[in-house]
Protein backbone atom coordinates (compact mmCIF):
# COMPACT_ATOMS: atom_id res chain seq x y z
CA UNK A 1 0.00 0.00 0.00
CA UNK A 2 2.90 2.33 0.85
CA UNK A 3 4.40 2.47 -2.63
CA UNK A 4 0.97 3.07 -4.13
CA UNK A 5 0.33 6.07 -1.85
CA UNK A 6 3.72 7.57 -2.64
CA UNK A 7 3.28 6.93 -6.34
CA UNK A 8 -0.17 8.51 -6.33
CA UNK A 9 1.01 11.61 -4.47
CA UNK A 10 4.01 11.89 -6.78
CA UNK A 11 1.79 11.60 -9.84
CA UNK A 12 -0.73 14.15 -8.56
CA UNK A 13 2.01 16.56 -7.46
CA UNK A 14 3.95 16.34 -10.70
CA UNK A 15 0.80 16.63 -12.79
CA UNK A 16 -0.31 19.72 -10.86
CA UNK A 17 3.15 21.30 -11.19
CA UNK A 18 3.24 20.69 -14.94
CA UNK A 19 -0.30 21.99 -15.34
CA UNK A 20 0.60 25.14 -13.41
CA UNK A 21 3.52 25.73 -15.75
CA UNK A 22 1.65 24.97 -18.98
CA UNK A 23 -2.02 25.36 -18.15
CA UNK A 24 -1.88 28.85 -16.64
CA UNK A 25 -0.16 30.49 -19.66
CA UNK A 26 -2.53 28.52 -21.91
CA UNK A 27 -5.52 29.83 -19.96
CA UNK A 28 -4.12 33.36 -20.33
CA UNK A 29 -3.69 32.94 -24.09
CA UNK A 30 -7.26 31.64 -24.40
CA UNK A 31 -8.65 34.47 -22.27
CA UNK A 32 -6.77 37.09 -24.31
CA UNK A 33 -7.60 35.71 -27.77
CA UNK A 34 -9.85 38.33 -29.34
CA UNK A 35 -8.99 38.88 -32.98
CA UNK A 36 -10.94 36.89 -35.53
CA UNK A 37 -8.34 34.22 -36.29
CA UNK A 38 -6.94 33.72 -32.84
CA UNK A 39 -10.51 33.84 -31.56
CA UNK A 40 -11.54 30.94 -33.80
CA UNK A 41 -8.35 29.11 -32.89
CA UNK A 42 -9.05 29.67 -29.21
CA UNK A 43 -12.53 28.22 -29.71
CA UNK A 44 -11.14 25.00 -31.17
CA UNK A 45 -8.37 24.83 -28.57
CA UNK A 46 -10.88 25.45 -25.79
CA UNK A 47 -13.09 22.61 -27.04
CA UNK A 48 -10.12 20.24 -27.28
CA UNK A 49 -8.98 21.13 -23.78
CA UNK A 50 -12.50 20.65 -22.39
CA UNK A 51 -12.92 17.33 -24.20
CA UNK A 52 -11.63 15.18 -21.29
CA UNK A 53 -14.58 16.45 -19.24
CA UNK A 54 -16.97 14.38 -21.36
CA UNK A 55 -14.69 11.83 -23.02
CA UNK A 56 -14.69 8.41 -21.31
CA UNK A 57 -11.28 8.12 -19.61
CA UNK A 58 -10.73 4.74 -21.18
CA UNK A 59 -11.10 6.26 -24.63
CA UNK A 60 -8.47 8.90 -23.85
CA UNK A 61 -6.28 6.18 -22.35
CA UNK A 62 -6.75 4.01 -25.40
CA UNK A 63 -5.62 6.71 -27.82
CA UNK A 64 -2.67 7.56 -25.60
CA UNK A 65 -1.69 3.92 -25.49
CA UNK A 66 -1.74 3.77 -29.30
CA UNK A 67 0.13 7.06 -29.55
CA UNK A 68 2.78 6.36 -26.94
CA UNK A 69 3.05 2.60 -27.36
CA UNK A 70 6.05 0.77 -28.82
CA UNK A 71 4.51 0.77 -32.30
CA UNK A 72 2.95 4.20 -32.01
CA UNK A 73 3.78 7.13 -34.30
CA UNK A 74 5.78 8.80 -31.54
CA UNK A 75 7.84 5.70 -30.72
CA UNK A 76 10.85 6.68 -32.89
CA UNK A 77 11.22 9.79 -30.74
CA UNK A 78 11.90 7.77 -27.62
CA UNK A 79 14.17 5.11 -29.12
CA UNK A 80 14.02 1.77 -27.37
CA UNK A 81 12.10 3.02 -24.33
CA UNK A 82 8.37 3.30 -24.60
CA UNK A 83 6.16 5.64 -22.60
CA UNK A 84 3.34 3.15 -22.38
CA UNK A 85 3.22 1.29 -19.06
CA UNK A 86 5.68 3.76 -17.52
CA UNK A 87 5.45 6.56 -14.97
CA UNK A 88 6.21 9.32 -17.54
CA UNK A 89 3.39 7.89 -19.63
CA UNK A 90 1.10 8.15 -16.61
CA UNK A 91 2.12 11.78 -16.09
CA UNK A 92 1.35 12.68 -19.71
CA UNK A 93 -2.03 10.96 -19.50
CA UNK A 94 -2.90 12.62 -16.20
CA UNK A 95 -1.91 16.05 -17.51
CA UNK A 96 -4.17 15.71 -20.53
CA UNK A 97 -6.99 14.33 -18.44
CA UNK A 98 -6.80 17.05 -15.76
CA UNK A 99 -6.04 19.91 -18.16
CA UNK A 100 -9.62 21.29 -18.19
CA UNK A 101 -9.67 21.34 -14.38
CA UNK A 102 -6.72 23.72 -14.43
CA UNK A 103 -7.51 25.73 -17.56
CA UNK A 104 -11.24 26.39 -17.08
CA UNK A 105 -11.17 28.16 -13.68
CA UNK A 106 -7.98 30.06 -14.50
CA UNK A 107 -9.30 31.17 -17.87
CA UNK A 108 -12.55 32.31 -16.26
CA UNK A 109 -10.50 34.13 -13.62
CA UNK A 110 -8.44 36.00 -16.22
CA UNK A 111 -11.56 36.80 -18.21
CA UNK A 112 -13.21 38.24 -15.10
CA UNK A 113 -10.17 40.44 -14.44
CA UNK A 114 -10.55 41.94 -17.90
CA UNK A 115 -7.87 44.15 -19.38
CA UNK A 116 -7.95 46.99 -16.81
CA UNK A 117 -4.96 46.05 -14.70
CA UNK A 118 -3.12 44.65 -17.71
CA UNK A 119 -3.32 47.95 -19.60
CA UNK A 120 -2.41 49.93 -16.52
CA UNK A 121 0.72 47.80 -16.10
CA UNK A 122 1.71 48.29 -19.76
CA UNK A 123 1.45 52.08 -19.43
CA UNK A 124 3.64 51.84 -16.31
CA UNK A 125 6.53 50.42 -18.36
CA UNK A 126 5.93 46.76 -17.63
CA UNK A 127 6.64 44.60 -20.71
CA UNK A 128 4.05 41.85 -21.32
CA UNK A 129 5.92 39.05 -19.50
CA UNK A 130 6.66 41.38 -16.59
CA UNK A 131 3.02 42.50 -16.42
CA UNK A 132 1.82 38.89 -16.58
CA UNK A 133 4.07 37.73 -13.75
CA UNK A 134 3.88 40.73 -11.44
CA UNK A 135 0.27 41.82 -11.97
CA UNK A 136 -1.94 39.22 -13.65
CA UNK A 137 -0.67 36.12 -11.78
CA UNK A 138 -1.04 37.66 -8.30
CA UNK A 139 -4.48 39.04 -9.16
CA UNK A 140 -5.58 35.61 -10.42
CA UNK A 141 -4.10 33.68 -7.50
CA UNK A 142 -7.55 32.62 -6.29
CA UNK A 143 -8.60 30.90 -9.53
CA UNK A 144 -5.08 29.50 -9.97
CA UNK A 145 -5.20 27.90 -6.51
CA UNK A 146 -8.66 26.55 -7.33
CA UNK A 147 -7.31 25.04 -10.55
CA UNK A 148 -4.33 23.49 -8.75
CA UNK A 149 -6.51 21.94 -6.02
CA UNK A 150 -8.97 20.58 -8.57
CA UNK A 151 -6.18 19.13 -10.72
CA UNK A 152 -4.48 17.53 -7.73
CA UNK A 153 -7.67 16.01 -6.35
CA UNK A 154 -8.78 14.88 -9.76
CA UNK A 155 -5.46 13.14 -10.44
CA UNK A 156 -5.54 11.42 -7.04
CA UNK A 157 -8.64 9.47 -7.91
CA UNK A 158 -8.06 8.88 -11.59
CA UNK A 159 -8.67 5.33 -12.79
CA UNK A 160 -9.50 4.80 -16.43
CA UNK A 161 -6.60 6.62 -18.04
CA UNK A 162 -4.12 5.17 -15.54
CA UNK A 163 -5.42 1.67 -16.15
CA UNK A 164 -5.15 1.97 -19.91
CA UNK A 165 -1.81 3.70 -20.27
CA UNK A 166 -0.09 2.51 -17.11
CA UNK A 167 -1.22 -1.06 -16.96
CA UNK A 168 -1.05 -2.17 -13.37
CA UNK A 169 2.56 -2.53 -12.38
CA UNK A 170 3.05 -2.39 -8.58
CA UNK A 171 5.55 0.29 -7.56
CA UNK A 172 5.64 1.68 -11.09
CA UNK A 173 2.15 2.48 -12.27
CA UNK A 174 -0.12 1.07 -9.60
CA UNK A 175 -1.90 4.07 -8.08
CA UNK A 176 -4.34 4.06 -5.15
CA UNK A 177 -7.53 3.76 -7.15
CA UNK A 178 -6.03 0.85 -9.06
CA UNK A 179 -4.95 -0.75 -5.81
CA UNK A 180 -8.53 -0.53 -4.56
CA UNK A 181 -9.69 -2.25 -7.73
CA UNK A 182 -7.05 -4.97 -7.27
CA UNK A 183 -8.05 -5.45 -3.64
CA UNK A 184 -11.66 -5.86 -4.64
CA UNK A 185 -10.70 -8.30 -7.40
CA UNK A 186 -8.84 -10.44 -4.87
CA UNK A 187 -11.75 -10.15 -2.42
CA UNK A 188 -9.56 -8.18 -0.01
CA UNK A 189 -12.59 -6.13 1.07
CA UNK A 190 -11.22 -4.59 4.26
CA UNK A 191 -8.08 -3.20 2.60
CA UNK A 192 -10.22 -1.81 -0.23
CA UNK A 193 -12.57 -0.28 2.31
CA UNK A 194 -9.77 1.49 4.19
CA UNK A 195 -8.25 2.89 1.03
CA UNK A 196 -11.60 3.94 -0.37
CA UNK A 197 -12.48 5.64 2.90
CA UNK A 198 -9.14 7.46 2.97
CA UNK A 199 -9.54 8.68 -0.62
CA UNK A 200 -13.10 9.81 0.07
CA UNK A 201 -11.93 11.71 3.14
CA UNK A 202 -9.07 13.39 1.25
CA UNK A 203 -11.43 14.33 -1.58
CA UNK A 204 -13.86 15.81 0.90
CA UNK A 205 -11.10 17.84 2.54
CA UNK A 206 -10.06 19.22 -0.84
CA UNK A 207 -13.55 20.30 -1.80
CA UNK A 208 -14.11 21.79 1.64
CA UNK A 209 -10.86 23.76 1.34
CA UNK A 210 -11.85 24.88 -2.14
CA UNK A 211 -15.23 26.18 -1.05
CA UNK A 212 -13.60 28.03 1.83
CA UNK A 213 -11.13 29.64 -0.55
CA UNK A 214 -13.84 30.66 -2.95
CA UNK A 215 -15.71 32.48 -0.24
CA UNK A 216 -12.71 34.67 0.44
CA UNK A 217 -12.58 37.91 -1.53
CA UNK A 218 -9.48 38.05 -3.64
CA UNK A 219 -9.69 41.46 -5.14
Amino acid sequence: MGPAILLTLELAGLTTAILLLLGVPLAWALARARARWSGALAGVAGALIALPLVLPPTVLGFYLLILLGPRGPLAPLFGVTTLAFSFPGLVIGSCLYSLPFMVQPVRAGFAALGSSAWEAALTLRAAPLDAFVTVMLPLARGPILTGALLSFAHTLGEFGVVMMIGGDIPGKTETLSILIFDDVETLNWSAAGHLAGALALVSFLFIWLLLRLERRPWA
Partner: protein
Protein backbone atom coordinates in the same frame (compact mmCIF):
# COMPACT_ATOMS: atom_id res chain seq x y z
CA UNK B 1 9.28 74.64 -27.31
CA UNK B 2 8.58 71.16 -28.59
CA UNK B 3 5.29 69.97 -29.96
CA UNK B 4 3.12 66.90 -29.78
CA UNK B 5 1.87 66.08 -33.26
CA UNK B 6 -0.58 63.26 -33.93
CA UNK B 7 -2.68 61.98 -36.77
CA UNK B 8 -4.89 58.92 -36.43
CA UNK B 9 -7.42 57.91 -39.04
CA UNK B 10 -9.34 54.72 -39.57
CA UNK B 11 -12.51 52.86 -38.72
CA UNK B 12 -12.84 52.19 -35.04
CA UNK B 13 -15.75 50.51 -33.36
CA UNK B 14 -18.90 52.15 -34.64
CA UNK B 15 -17.36 55.33 -36.04
CA UNK B 16 -14.53 56.61 -38.20
CA UNK B 17 -11.72 58.28 -36.32
CA UNK B 18 -9.99 61.03 -38.28
CA UNK B 19 -8.14 63.10 -35.73
CA UNK B 20 -5.04 65.19 -36.26
CA UNK B 21 -3.61 67.83 -33.99
CA UNK B 22 -0.48 69.64 -32.98
CA UNK B 23 -0.21 71.02 -29.45
CA UNK B 24 2.64 72.50 -27.42
CA UNK B 25 4.64 69.95 -25.42
CA UNK B 26 4.04 71.94 -22.25
CA UNK B 27 1.11 72.76 -20.04
CA UNK B 28 -2.31 71.18 -20.07
CA UNK B 29 -4.37 70.76 -23.22
CA UNK B 30 -8.04 70.05 -22.72
CA UNK B 31 -9.68 67.51 -25.03
CA UNK B 32 -13.36 68.33 -25.04
CA UNK B 33 -16.20 66.52 -26.71
CA UNK B 34 -19.47 64.73 -26.02
CA UNK B 35 -19.49 61.15 -24.75
CA UNK B 36 -18.79 58.64 -27.50
CA UNK B 37 -17.05 61.08 -29.86
CA UNK B 38 -13.80 59.11 -29.78
CA UNK B 39 -11.85 60.95 -27.07
CA UNK B 40 -10.90 57.79 -25.21
CA UNK B 41 -10.05 55.94 -28.41
CA UNK B 42 -7.76 58.78 -29.45
CA UNK B 43 -6.11 58.71 -26.03
CA UNK B 44 -5.61 54.94 -26.27
CA UNK B 45 -3.94 55.43 -29.66
CA UNK B 46 -1.62 57.99 -28.09
CA UNK B 47 -0.74 55.58 -25.27
CA UNK B 48 -0.15 52.74 -27.74
CA UNK B 49 -2.92 50.63 -26.18
CA UNK B 50 -4.58 50.60 -29.59
CA UNK B 51 -2.51 50.32 -32.72
CA UNK B 52 -4.15 52.12 -35.59
CA UNK B 53 -2.41 51.34 -38.89
CA UNK B 54 -1.17 54.44 -40.66
CA UNK B 55 -1.25 56.54 -37.51
CA UNK B 56 1.52 58.97 -36.69
CA UNK B 57 2.62 60.37 -33.36
CA UNK B 58 5.60 62.50 -32.44
CA UNK B 59 6.14 63.71 -28.89
CA UNK B 60 8.70 66.44 -28.39
CA UNK B 61 11.02 65.07 -31.09
CA UNK B 62 10.56 61.37 -30.28
CA UNK B 63 8.69 59.28 -32.86
CA UNK B 64 6.21 56.94 -31.13
CA UNK B 65 4.40 55.87 -34.26
CA UNK B 66 5.12 56.46 -37.94
CA UNK B 67 4.81 54.00 -40.82
CA UNK B 68 6.18 50.67 -39.63
CA UNK B 69 7.53 52.20 -36.42
CA UNK B 70 5.35 51.50 -33.41
CA UNK B 71 6.77 51.96 -29.96
CA UNK B 72 4.82 49.58 -27.67
CA UNK B 73 3.12 51.15 -24.65
CA UNK B 74 5.71 49.90 -22.16
CA UNK B 75 8.55 51.57 -24.09
CA UNK B 76 6.91 54.93 -24.68
CA UNK B 77 6.92 57.38 -21.82
CA UNK B 78 3.17 57.97 -21.76
CA UNK B 79 1.57 58.16 -18.35
CA UNK B 80 -2.10 57.17 -18.35
CA UNK B 81 -4.64 57.97 -15.67
CA UNK B 82 -7.82 56.00 -16.24
CA UNK B 83 -11.32 57.06 -15.28
CA UNK B 84 -11.48 54.15 -12.83
CA UNK B 85 -7.95 54.56 -11.32
CA UNK B 86 -7.05 50.89 -11.92
CA UNK B 87 -4.79 50.55 -8.91
CA UNK B 88 -3.30 47.09 -8.45
CA UNK B 89 -5.43 45.43 -5.79
CA UNK B 90 -2.68 43.06 -4.64
CA UNK B 91 -0.24 45.88 -3.84
CA UNK B 92 -0.45 48.60 -1.19
CA UNK B 93 -0.35 52.27 -2.17
CA UNK B 94 3.44 52.57 -1.82
CA UNK B 95 4.02 49.52 -4.04
CA UNK B 96 1.53 50.85 -6.58
CA UNK B 97 3.44 54.15 -6.67
CA UNK B 98 6.79 52.37 -7.02
CA UNK B 99 5.56 50.11 -9.85
CA UNK B 100 6.32 52.50 -12.71
CA UNK B 101 9.14 54.32 -10.92
CA UNK B 102 11.18 51.10 -10.64
CA UNK B 103 10.75 50.29 -14.31
CA UNK B 104 11.26 53.74 -15.81
CA UNK B 105 14.59 55.27 -16.74
CA UNK B 106 15.75 57.77 -14.13
CA UNK B 107 14.01 61.08 -14.60
CA UNK B 108 13.43 64.39 -12.92
CA UNK B 109 10.21 63.54 -11.09
CA UNK B 110 11.17 62.78 -7.50
CA UNK B 111 9.29 60.55 -5.05
CA UNK B 112 9.15 63.11 -2.24
CA UNK B 113 7.81 65.85 -4.48
CA UNK B 114 5.01 63.70 -5.88
CA UNK B 115 4.01 62.47 -2.41
CA UNK B 116 3.94 66.09 -1.26
CA UNK B 117 2.11 67.52 -4.27
CA UNK B 118 -0.68 64.97 -4.06
CA UNK B 119 -0.79 64.57 -0.28
CA UNK B 120 -0.08 60.84 -0.49
CA UNK B 121 1.98 60.50 2.70
CA UNK B 122 -0.83 59.22 4.96
CA UNK B 123 -1.99 56.72 2.33
CA UNK B 124 1.26 54.85 1.66
CA UNK B 125 0.56 51.77 3.78
CA UNK B 126 -3.11 51.49 2.82
CA UNK B 127 -4.66 48.92 0.51
CA UNK B 128 -6.36 50.32 -2.61
CA UNK B 129 -9.66 48.72 -1.60
CA UNK B 130 -9.74 50.89 1.54
CA UNK B 131 -9.34 54.20 -0.34
CA UNK B 132 -12.08 56.65 -1.28
CA UNK B 133 -12.60 57.46 -4.96
CA UNK B 134 -10.70 60.73 -4.69
CA UNK B 135 -7.79 59.10 -2.84
CA UNK B 136 -7.60 56.39 -5.47
CA UNK B 137 -7.41 58.93 -8.26
CA UNK B 138 -4.67 60.86 -6.43
CA UNK B 139 -2.65 57.65 -6.11
CA UNK B 140 -3.24 56.86 -9.80
CA UNK B 141 -1.97 60.34 -10.71
CA UNK B 142 1.10 59.92 -8.53
CA UNK B 143 1.78 56.46 -9.94
CA UNK B 144 1.61 57.77 -13.52
CA UNK B 145 3.85 60.75 -12.70
CA UNK B 146 6.48 58.63 -10.98
CA UNK B 147 6.84 56.53 -14.15
CA UNK B 148 8.58 59.65 -15.53
CA UNK B 149 6.22 60.35 -18.45
CA UNK B 150 6.95 62.74 -21.29
CA UNK B 151 3.22 62.99 -21.90
CA UNK B 152 0.50 62.55 -19.32
CA UNK B 153 -2.86 61.27 -20.60
CA UNK B 154 -5.77 61.99 -18.26
CA UNK B 155 -8.89 60.12 -19.34
CA UNK B 156 -11.77 61.84 -17.52
CA UNK B 157 -10.02 61.32 -14.18
CA UNK B 158 -12.68 63.28 -12.28
CA UNK B 159 -15.87 62.01 -13.87
CA UNK B 160 -16.35 59.13 -11.43
CA UNK B 161 -15.83 61.35 -8.39
CA UNK B 162 -18.28 63.31 -6.28
CA UNK B 163 -18.13 67.08 -6.38
CA UNK B 164 -16.01 67.51 -3.23
CA UNK B 165 -13.39 64.98 -4.33
CA UNK B 166 -13.19 66.54 -7.79
CA UNK B 167 -12.78 69.99 -6.23
CA UNK B 168 -9.89 68.63 -4.18
CA UNK B 169 -8.04 67.19 -7.17
CA UNK B 170 -8.68 69.84 -9.83
CA UNK B 171 -6.35 72.55 -8.44
CA UNK B 172 -3.61 69.99 -7.80
CA UNK B 173 -4.00 68.78 -11.37
CA UNK B 174 -3.55 72.30 -12.71
CA UNK B 175 -0.31 72.71 -10.78
CA UNK B 176 1.19 69.29 -11.58
CA UNK B 177 1.95 69.87 -15.25
CA UNK B 178 3.94 73.02 -14.58
CA UNK B 179 5.63 71.73 -11.42
CA UNK B 180 6.88 68.52 -13.01
CA UNK B 181 7.27 69.94 -16.53
CA UNK B 182 5.06 67.27 -18.11
CA UNK B 183 2.66 68.16 -20.89
CA UNK B 184 -0.77 66.70 -20.23
CA UNK B 185 -3.81 65.93 -22.33
CA UNK B 186 -6.87 66.25 -20.13
CA UNK B 187 -10.00 64.59 -21.49
CA UNK B 188 -13.30 65.87 -20.20
CA UNK B 189 -16.86 66.34 -21.32
CA UNK B 190 -17.08 69.26 -18.88
CA UNK B 191 -15.77 72.54 -20.30
CA UNK B 192 -15.88 73.96 -16.74
CA UNK B 193 -13.20 71.50 -15.61
CA UNK B 194 -11.10 72.32 -18.64
CA UNK B 195 -11.44 76.07 -18.03
CA UNK B 196 -9.97 75.60 -14.59
CA UNK B 197 -6.73 73.91 -15.66
CA UNK B 198 -6.01 73.95 -19.39
CA UNK B 199 -4.11 76.44 -21.51
CA UNK B 200 -4.92 74.85 -24.86
CA UNK B 201 -8.05 73.20 -26.13
CA UNK B 202 -8.93 70.53 -28.67
CA UNK B 203 -12.59 70.19 -29.55
CA UNK B 204 -13.67 66.78 -30.80
CA UNK B 205 -16.89 65.74 -32.45
CA UNK B 206 -17.79 62.42 -34.11
CA UNK B 207 -14.20 61.26 -34.39
CA UNK B 208 -12.76 64.54 -35.69
CA UNK B 209 -10.87 67.41 -34.13
CA UNK B 210 -13.11 70.33 -35.08
CA UNK B 211 -11.15 73.13 -33.42
CA UNK B 212 -7.76 73.59 -31.80
CA UNK B 213 -5.98 76.51 -30.24
CA UNK B 214 -5.32 78.47 -27.07
CA UNK B 215 -8.19 77.98 -24.63
CA UNK B 216 -8.95 81.71 -24.24
CA UNK B 217 -9.29 82.11 -28.04
CA UNK B 218 -11.71 79.22 -28.47
CA UNK B 219 -13.85 80.20 -25.49
CA UNK B 220 -14.53 83.57 -27.14
CA UNK B 221 -14.86 82.21 -30.68
CA UNK B 222 -18.51 82.46 -31.64
CA UNK B 223 -18.10 79.60 -34.12
CA UNK B 224 -17.56 77.33 -31.10
CA UNK B 225 -20.35 76.18 -28.82
CA UNK B 226 -18.88 77.81 -25.70
CA UNK B 227 -19.45 81.58 -25.82
CA UNK B 228 -23.23 81.51 -26.08
CA UNK B 229 -23.97 78.71 -23.62
CA UNK B 230 -25.46 79.42 -20.20
CA UNK B 231 -22.59 79.66 -17.71
CA UNK B 232 -20.08 80.73 -20.37
CA UNK B 233 -16.80 82.13 -19.10
CA UNK B 234 -13.43 83.30 -20.31
CA UNK B 235 -10.06 82.73 -18.75
CA UNK B 236 -7.33 85.28 -18.19
CA UNK B 237 -3.83 84.28 -17.15
CA UNK B 238 -2.47 87.39 -15.48
CA UNK B 239 0.59 88.13 -13.35
CA UNK B 240 0.01 89.39 -9.83
CA UNK B 241 1.25 92.97 -10.06
CA UNK B 242 0.47 94.36 -6.65
CA UNK B 243 -1.39 94.16 -3.40
CA UNK B 244 -3.67 96.66 -1.73
CA UNK B 245 -3.10 95.62 1.85
CA UNK B 246 -5.54 98.03 3.42
CA UNK B 247 -8.44 96.84 1.28
CA UNK B 248 -7.28 93.21 1.06
CA UNK B 249 -7.20 93.17 -2.73
CA UNK B 250 -4.71 91.82 -5.24
CA UNK B 251 -3.97 93.61 -8.49
CA UNK B 252 -3.55 91.42 -11.52
CA UNK B 253 -2.28 92.39 -14.96
CA UNK B 254 -1.25 95.69 -16.52
CA UNK B 255 -3.43 98.49 -17.92
CA UNK B 256 -5.64 98.40 -19.82
CA UNK B 257 -6.30 94.92 -18.46
CA UNK B 258 -5.74 95.42 -14.74
CA UNK B 259 -8.14 93.77 -12.32
CA UNK B 260 -8.81 93.96 -8.61
CA UNK B 261 -9.25 90.49 -7.15
CA UNK B 262 -10.29 89.85 -3.56
CA UNK B 263 -7.70 88.37 -1.22
CA UNK B 264 -4.12 87.47 -1.82
CA UNK B 265 -4.27 85.20 -4.90
CA UNK B 266 -0.59 84.39 -5.29
CA UNK B 267 2.98 85.62 -4.97
CA UNK B 268 3.93 88.89 -6.63
CA UNK B 269 4.85 88.21 -10.27
CA UNK B 270 3.27 84.74 -10.24
CA UNK B 271 0.66 83.93 -12.88
CA UNK B 272 -2.89 83.38 -11.73
CA UNK B 273 -5.76 82.08 -13.77
CA UNK B 274 -8.91 84.14 -13.44
CA UNK B 275 -12.14 82.71 -14.69
CA UNK B 276 -14.54 85.49 -15.67
CA UNK B 277 -18.14 84.41 -16.09
CA UNK B 278 -19.94 86.17 -18.92
CA UNK B 279 -22.89 86.85 -16.63
CA UNK B 280 -20.62 88.82 -14.24
CA UNK B 281 -19.58 91.28 -16.97
CA UNK B 282 -21.81 94.28 -17.66
CA UNK B 283 -21.39 97.07 -20.21
CA UNK B 284 -21.47 100.88 -19.85
CA UNK B 285 -21.43 103.46 -22.65
CA UNK B 286 -19.07 105.68 -20.66
CA UNK B 287 -17.09 105.38 -17.46
CA UNK B 288 -19.19 106.14 -14.41
CA UNK B 289 -18.78 106.35 -10.69
CA UNK B 290 -19.75 102.93 -9.53
CA UNK B 291 -19.23 100.57 -6.65
CA UNK B 292 -17.72 98.22 -9.20
CA UNK B 293 -13.94 98.49 -9.11
CA UNK B 294 -13.05 96.82 -12.33
CA UNK B 295 -13.90 99.06 -15.26
CA UNK B 296 -12.02 98.18 -18.40
CA UNK B 297 -11.99 100.06 -21.71
CA UNK B 298 -13.17 97.53 -24.27
CA UNK B 299 -14.21 97.26 -27.88
CA UNK B 300 -17.19 95.20 -29.04
CA UNK B 301 -15.74 92.66 -31.46
CA UNK B 302 -18.69 90.38 -32.15
CA UNK B 303 -22.13 89.52 -30.90
CA UNK B 304 -24.51 86.59 -31.17
CA UNK B 305 -27.86 85.59 -29.69
CA UNK B 306 -27.36 83.46 -26.60
CA UNK B 307 -30.81 81.96 -26.30
CA UNK B 308 -34.00 83.61 -25.04
CA UNK B 309 -33.54 87.22 -24.01
CA UNK B 310 -29.73 87.04 -23.96
CA UNK B 311 -26.90 88.17 -26.20
CA UNK B 312 -23.29 86.99 -25.99
CA UNK B 313 -20.90 89.88 -26.63
CA UNK B 314 -17.21 89.35 -27.35
CA UNK B 315 -15.08 92.20 -26.04
CA UNK B 316 -11.47 93.09 -26.80
CA UNK B 317 -9.46 94.55 -23.93
CA UNK B 318 -6.03 95.15 -25.36
CA UNK B 319 -5.00 91.79 -26.77
CA UNK B 320 -7.26 89.89 -24.37
CA UNK B 321 -10.83 88.78 -24.94
CA UNK B 322 -13.75 88.89 -22.53
CA UNK B 323 -17.30 87.63 -22.81
CA UNK B 324 -20.38 89.48 -21.59
CA UNK B 325 -23.89 88.09 -21.48
CA UNK B 326 -26.41 90.93 -21.54
CA UNK B 327 -30.08 91.10 -22.46
CA UNK B 328 -31.19 92.02 -25.95
CA UNK B 329 -33.12 94.85 -24.38
CA UNK B 330 -29.96 96.35 -22.83
CA UNK B 331 -28.18 96.00 -26.15
CA UNK B 332 -30.92 97.94 -27.93
CA UNK B 333 -31.41 100.55 -25.16
CA UNK B 334 -27.70 101.38 -25.11
CA UNK B 335 -27.63 101.37 -28.90
CA UNK B 336 -24.59 99.11 -28.94
CA UNK B 337 -22.93 97.96 -32.17
CA UNK B 338 -19.94 95.94 -33.24
CA UNK B 339 -16.83 98.12 -33.35
CA UNK B 340 -18.07 100.42 -30.63
CA UNK B 341 -15.96 101.30 -27.58
CA UNK B 342 -17.55 100.53 -24.22
CA UNK B 343 -16.59 100.11 -20.60
CA UNK B 344 -16.72 96.53 -19.31
CA UNK B 345 -17.53 96.25 -15.64
CA UNK B 346 -16.63 93.22 -13.56
CA UNK B 347 -17.47 93.09 -9.90
CA UNK B 348 -14.30 92.25 -7.97
CA UNK B 349 -16.40 90.05 -5.75
CA UNK B 350 -17.12 87.78 -8.73
CA UNK B 351 -13.45 87.20 -9.46
CA UNK B 352 -11.46 84.41 -7.92
CA UNK B 353 -8.43 82.47 -8.98
CA UNK B 354 -9.66 79.37 -10.83
Amino acid sequence: MGVIAARFAGPFGGFALDAGFEIPAAGITGLFGPSGCGKSTLLRCLAGLERMPGGALRVDGAVWQQGATFVPPWRRAAGYVFQDARLFAHLDVAANLRFGLRRAAAGGIAWDEVIDALGLGPLLARAPASLSGGERQRVALGRALLAQPRLLLLDEPLSALDRAAAEDILPRLGALSARFRVPALFVSHSIDEIERVASHLLVMRAGRITAAGPLADLLTDLAQPFAARAGAATVLDLPVTGFDMGYELSLCGFPPLCLHVPGRVGPLGGLVRLRVRASDVSLLRTAAESSILNQLPAEILAVTPAGGPHMAVVLGVGPARLLAHITRKSWDMLGLAVGQGVIAQIKAEALAAA
